[in-house]
């Protein structure tokens, strides 16, 4: 008799990281934040980091730092969790990057662009290949990261769903 494991949906909030294995699906919504998906296709293990800012800066010395808020500390933390929980190495991972939109118009700094640039720079330094990227614009992103396949279904507000 075949048993079908139900897909477990795990929601990732702002400034948070979730890691999991197939057949889980990681979900998040983004505005100016970046959603970074890391995936090990061999083990079917992945993680999603929903970050808000490029760098922790001076806050890095705080005792209770919410690492997932920042690209630099968040990516380190995501890789650490993947390694500690599932034994995934940096060299096993490929990345997909989403979000970084400018939702509020007017004379407001475009933090989304800064987040996007910071993530790409850090991944480049780590030697992590970026398999897909969909960033920018002025509307929100809805993501579903399927850990069975590594595919990310991305729907930008007002547009059709695209599979990456």
């Amino acid at each position: 008799m075949d048993t079908k494991e139900e897909k477990k949906e795990i929601v990732v909030g702002m400034a948070d990281i979730k890691v999991g294995e197939a057949p889980s699906v990681l979900l998040t919504n983004l505005g100016s934040c970046i959603g970074l998906c890391l995936y090990d296709p061999q083990r079917k293990i992945g993680g999603l980091l929903h970050l808000m800012m490029p760098s922790a800066g001076a806050a890095v010395n705080k005792s209770e730092l919410k690492k997932a808020k920042y690209a630099d500390t968040g990516i380190q933390e995501l890789l650490q969790q993947l390694k500690n929980i599932y034994g995934v190495r940096v060299s096993d991972c490929s990345a997909k990057i989403f979000g970084g939109a400018k939702i509020l118009q007017g004379n407001i700094h475009n933090i989304g662009m800064d987040n996007d640039a910071a993530v790409r720079a850090i991944l480049k330094d780590l030697g992590i290949r970026v398999g897909a990227c969909k960033t920018g614009g002025e509307k929100g992103y809805k993501l579903k990261f399927n850990l069975e396949t590594g595919a990310v279904a991305c729907q930008i507000f007002g547009e059709q769903i695209q599979e990456f």
Partner: protein
């Protein structure tokens, strides 16, 4: 009383007065009863708060963002589903409900103006009940996913701290089955004023 409890108490008082005034003003604007379905003041972790919003998977919404500037800076957000914004447009313009068929400049501006009037009702409460001078900024209106709008709304507070104190209200427009949400969030600089409010109680 601890600092947190003081601020919580002050916020509950502000919430009570502001929300009552807001529902009166909203009812007057749409010429229909707008009752308070839920009113809550809570402290929440930003990740948990935003994850809950995402999990709700709400429809597309139209939101009005307003900064309440002055002695006690707050952030204000009002949002309603895009479909319900059409009904609100007809109610405000005293037209038969169903006349507005598409989300357009007027439905966007209906949300803008409702947000403006609700935010002004709140600054009025600060002025008359607490002698605290505040004024609302011009509203910024966004049409997007509810969770995206909510994340952008709490962004500046979330940059400062990992847990935020927030006042959430759900209004229900009687007879039309419309549900709208309103949020008020104190910025860090408001803490002195909130302490002052408690000391006068």
């Amino acid at each position: 009383m601890t600092e947190k409890k003081k601020i919580d108490r002050a916020l509950k008082l502000i919430a009570g007065l502001s929300i009552d005034k807001s529902s009166q003003v909203l009812s007057k604007m749409i010429k229909m009863g707008a009752s308070i379905e839920m009113r809550d003041v809570y402290m929440a972790d930003i990740s948990q708060l935003t994850a809950n919003r995402t999990a709700e998977d709400e429809k597309e919404v139209v939101g009005a963002f307003i900064d309440l500037v002055g002695d006690a800076p707050f952030k204000f957000l009002f949002y309603v589903s895009a479909d319900d914004s059409l009904v609100l447009t007809d109610l405000i313009l005293r037209r038969e409900v169903g006349t507005s068929k598409e989300f357009d400049l007027y439905s966007q501006s209906a949300v803008q103006e409702i947000g403006n009037i609700l935010a002004s009702a709140i600054t009025n409460v600060f002025a008359t009940d607490f002698q605290i001078s505040m004024r609302p900024s011009p509203p910024v209106v966004v049409n997007d996913y509810a969770s995206t709008i909510f994340q952008e709304y709490i962004m500046s507070a979330a940059l400062e701290r990992d847990e935020i104190l927030i006042i959430e209200t759900v209004f229900c427009v009687v007879q039309q089955d419309i549900s709208c949400r309103m949020f008020i969030l104190p910025m860090q600089e408001s803490e002195k004023i909130l302490n002052y409010i408690v000391s006068t109680m």
